[in-house]
């Protein structure tokens, strides 16, 4: 270890390296094992799943019947398309609304900014209960309309506050310079502020996307069953056996565990695919809330 370097920056010994490697392998295994079990169970035969007590780690024979059954029905494909649509449109609309609102509230000169911010924060501390929200959606005529899954959650207060904080740290000199060049607020936002805020926009976009993708209860509440997104359908597949346990119910065809796991895999893949594309923005995005002057310091 070099004498002029602090202890934590010293070159680790081979033993420490080995311990770190083992620790990392264990952590990765703990994280990946459930995923692998789900995939392995989905490609095992139904009888093997039962013989193994419901879960298979290493299938002895591969069977893709679960996947063909899931796709043949057409329900999952339809639900995946609905989820994709809600997620894409919802994320876009949420980002637009959040960026515009955050920018407006980040400007010190905005008239009525403080009361508006207080009103928004009020919804953070006291979110609407289920029944009032249902009645509002009904009165607005949004029942059985996909907008009912987007409009009530269009702006997330936490995301708004994070984005507003990021915008506040954009150097005021840049904004003033743009204004002197004749740019209005819309141009300043789109040409100056947003290009400097790609990280936070990407991270918050991911938050919104995951939230829309995972949402299911509002769909059950507001929509017809043929309009349900994939998470609502997935929940039905996974919980139907448990729901029937202990009852005298006789009318139900219970799906095999392998089919349930195939649906879990199908519902997880899109988010797994999306993650790597925004992962590079994560470090900066996560630091946004932690270091207030990050924006100023990072500017030339």
């Amino acid at each position: 270890m070099s004498a002029n370097r602090p202890a934590w920056m010293g070159k680790p010994s081979p033993l420490v390296k080995a311990v770190k490697a083992v620790a990392l392998v264990v952590v990765v295994a703990v994280v990946l094992f459930p995923f692998w079990t789900i995939v392995a169970t989905s490609i095992a035969s139904p009888q093997e799943v039962v013989d193994n007590g419901g879960w298979v780690v290493i299938p002895t024979s591969l069977s893709f019947h679960a996947y063909t059954d899931v796709f043949e029905g057409g329900v999952i494909t339809h639900a995946l398309l609905i989820s994709g649509g809600i997620t894409a449109v919802g994320t876009l609309l949420s980002l637009v609304a959040t960026v515009f609102l955050a920018y407006a509230l980040s400007r010190p000169s905005i008239v009525g900014g403080k009361p508006v911010l207080l009103a928004i924060l009020f919804t953070f501390l006291f979110p609407p209960a289920m029944i009032p929200a249902f009645l509002v959606v009904q009165e607005l005529g949004l029942k059985e309309d996909y907008l009912s899954l987007i409009l009530p959650v269009l702006v997330n207060t936490f995301n708004l506050v994070v984005m507003r904080g990021f915008f506040q740290n954009v150097p005021s000199e840049l904004i003033e310079a743009a204004r002197l060049d004749g740019a209005g607020d819309f141009r300043i936002l789109t040409r100056v502020v947003m290009p400097l805020s790609k990280a936070v926009i990407a991270v918050i976009g991911l938050f919104y996307a995951v939230s829309y993708w995972n949402s299911f209860f509002t769909a059950i509440l507001y929509m017809r069953s043929d309009q349900w997104p994939v998470q609502a359908v997935l929940r039905q597949y996974v919980t139907q056996g448990a729901a029937l346990s202990n009852t005298s119910e006789v009318t139900v065809v219970n799906s095999p565990q392998s089919t349930k796991m195939a649906v879990v895999v199908m519902a997880t893949i899109p988010i797994i695919v999306l993650y790597p594309f925004v992962q590079r923005f994560f470090a900066k995005g996560v630091l946004t809330g932690a270091i207030k002057s990050l924006g100023k310091r990072s500017q030339p």
Partner: protein
């Protein structure tokens, strides 16, 4: 935003948070809280008229609850001969679902709608969200024509809502009036009594289920190998449990959500409540109930019970039973059937255990799964809706039953050589009554028929025949208690936690006794009083 502003805002939010739930609770519909039968003229129960269809091979008895059994499918399946009930209009209905939603253009959906002559729009509510969704829906004025309640869930202010917003169907259903609807008249009286009256009136049509409560599912092949007698006593039971536990095989599976009614009934405890001289007393105070807890606690301590039982749900037990890890576990009547037989590893014989005592008081269930009520409407509309429900309740052995339960011949089922419907892959994977749960709107009474398993049908019939001689009913079924509605679920949970503490965690029986004392003081005594009054007022 300054810190002080944030604190002020938090204070306002806290105030609003306190007031909010109160406002929401006031927003529940219906204001008529008198849903009891006390002081009301009681509508007579619908007259039971057995449908004149194919006779069962082993006769049933609608009065005792013994099911008619069919060892083979009826040779001659004919239409019930009823006119198409619908007028082409749209009929909406909310029902619980355990399936995935049917896709558009589903041929089963189309066939059902064509047969009914209506455009039936089902609002499917997943079982896990049934209570929240129904609570929300019932606050709105935008109600479906028909609404299913039940499925093991009590919606807050359920009876109050029904009395305020739903049609009193007594004039169509009570007494001989029901004879206009022969499908509904074929529903046994115990199912109607299970649903009960609200304010003396009849509002709902039950989805009948066999009266038998939970039982012990056993691997009869293993039990036979261990020379366990079919009709056994407590000593036989104890010996069998000991004998059937070897290595990684366990005699019994329990679960974190398991009920212990098989053991309490076997040892002679009354079914939840007992009535003596008009007074209600709880089963929790009885020695037999305590004995059942002690018996299971000893079995768990002796490692005869699957060791992870405190952490698993009963659905896991089905799997462990199927792969022979468990020789027995407790389940509902519906767990018996072709699904269980097909899953049994090595084709072992799946069977119900008889109660293990001569003094047994086998506990019955409620006799229904759910019930359907009607939104207030003009008489003509109500009659149409009743005709639709009647059609859906077409009995076993009719063409209509075949459609609602097996689908369209050639598409959803083919036939075995003896005529038994054999489901196609389309039925098994997507287009079926699980995904389009039309039987929850209304359905025929269940019959004992396990296609392809005549021997099992006969065995379960014999089991039922024996049990109906000694079954004990819960006298609180079908009557209301305000305290039970408000606190019943929490109080039952506290008792369940207490007996699981003794069984799984080695706590002493005094902890259970303390829990029972608390149960009495926190609402049990009030429940007993209210139920006794209501029981007396509900006698026909």
């Amino acid at each position: 935003m300054k810190r002080r502003d944030a604190l002020r805002l938090g204070g306002v939010a806290a105030l609003a948070g306190t007031a909010g739930p109160a406002l929401v609770s006031c927003s529940g519909s219906g204001g008529d809280s008198d849903v009891g039968n006390k002081g009301k003229k009681l509508a007579p129960w619908p007259t039971y008229v057995e449908f004149d269809g194919p006779k069962p091979d082993l006769p049933g008895d609608g009065k005792t609850g013994l099911q008619g059994a069919y060892t083979k499918y009826p040779k001659k399946v004919e239409s019930a001969g009823w006119d198409t009930p619908g007028d082409g209009t749209e009929v909406t209905c909310s029902v619980v679902t355990y399936g995935v939603p049917p896709k558009g253009g589903d041929s089963f959906v189309k066939a059902v709608n064509k047969a009914l002559g209506i455009n039936l729009k089902l609002k499917l509510i997943p079982s896990g969200e049934f209570q929240e969704t129904m609570s929300t829906m019932t606050t709105s004025d935008d109600l479906p024509d028909l609404m299913m309640f039940g499925s093991g869930v009590t919606v807050p202010r359920e009876q109050e809502f029904i009395k305020a917003k739903c049609a009193d169907m007594s004039e169509y259903l009570s007494g001989d009036n029901i004879k206009d609807y022969p499908g509904l008249a074929n529903i046994p009286t115990y199912a109607w009594k299970g649903v009960g009256r609200i304010g003396g009136k009849i509002y709902g049509i039950p989805s009948e289920r066999p009266i038998f409560g939970g039982s012990l599912m056993v691997n009869r092949t293993e039990f036979d190998k261990a020379n366990v007698p079919l009709k056994w006593n407590k000593d036989d039971y104890v010996a069998a449990m000991k004998h059937l536990t070897k290595g990684k095989k366990y005699a019994l599976g329990l679960a974190k959500d398991a009920q212990i009614d098989y053991w309490t009934g076997s040892l002679g405890a009354p079914n939840v409540w007992s009535v003596d001289g008009g007074k209600f007393t709880t089963t929790f105070d009885t020695d037999q109930y305590a004995d059942a807890i002690k018996l299971l606690a000893k079995q768990f301590a002796d490692k005869q019970v699957y060791p992870d039982s405190p952490n698993i749900s009963n659905v896991d037990n089905k799997t462990y039973f199927s792969n022979t890890t468990l020789a027995s576990y407790r389940d509902g009547w519906g767990a018996m059937g072709p699904w269980a037989f097909d899953q049994a590893k090595g084709d072992f014989t799946v069977d119900f255990a008889y109660p293990f005592s001569a003094d047994a008081t086998p506990w019955t269930g409620t006799g229904y799964f759910g019930y359907t009520v009607f939104k207030k409407a003009k008489a003509k509309r109500l009659k149409l809706l009743l005709a639709v429900c009647n059609f859906l309740a077409a009995p076993f052995g009719t063409k209509e039953y075949e459609l609602f339960n097996f689908g369209v011949e050639g598409k959803h089922f083919t036939r075995e050589d003896d005529g038994t419907p054999k489901p196609t892959k389309l039925w098994n994977t997507s287009e079926n009554k699980t995904n389009y749960p039309v039987p929850y709107v209304a359905s025929a009474p269940t019959v004992l028929f396990y296609p392809g398993y005549a021997d099992r049908t006969e065995a379960v019939y014999e089991w039922e025949k024996e049990l109906v001689k000694s079954v004990v009913h819960d006298p609180s079924v079908g009557i209301r208690s305000k305290t039970q509605t408000e606190k019943g679920a929490d109080l039952s949970k506290s008792i369940q936690d207490a007996y699981f503490g003794v069984i799984f965690h080695g706590k002493s029986m005094s902890t259970f006794s303390d829990a029972v004392k608390e149960w009495h003081s926190k609402g049990g005594d009030d429940m007993a009083k209210e139920l006794a009054e209501e029981y007396s007022a509900s006698k026909d």
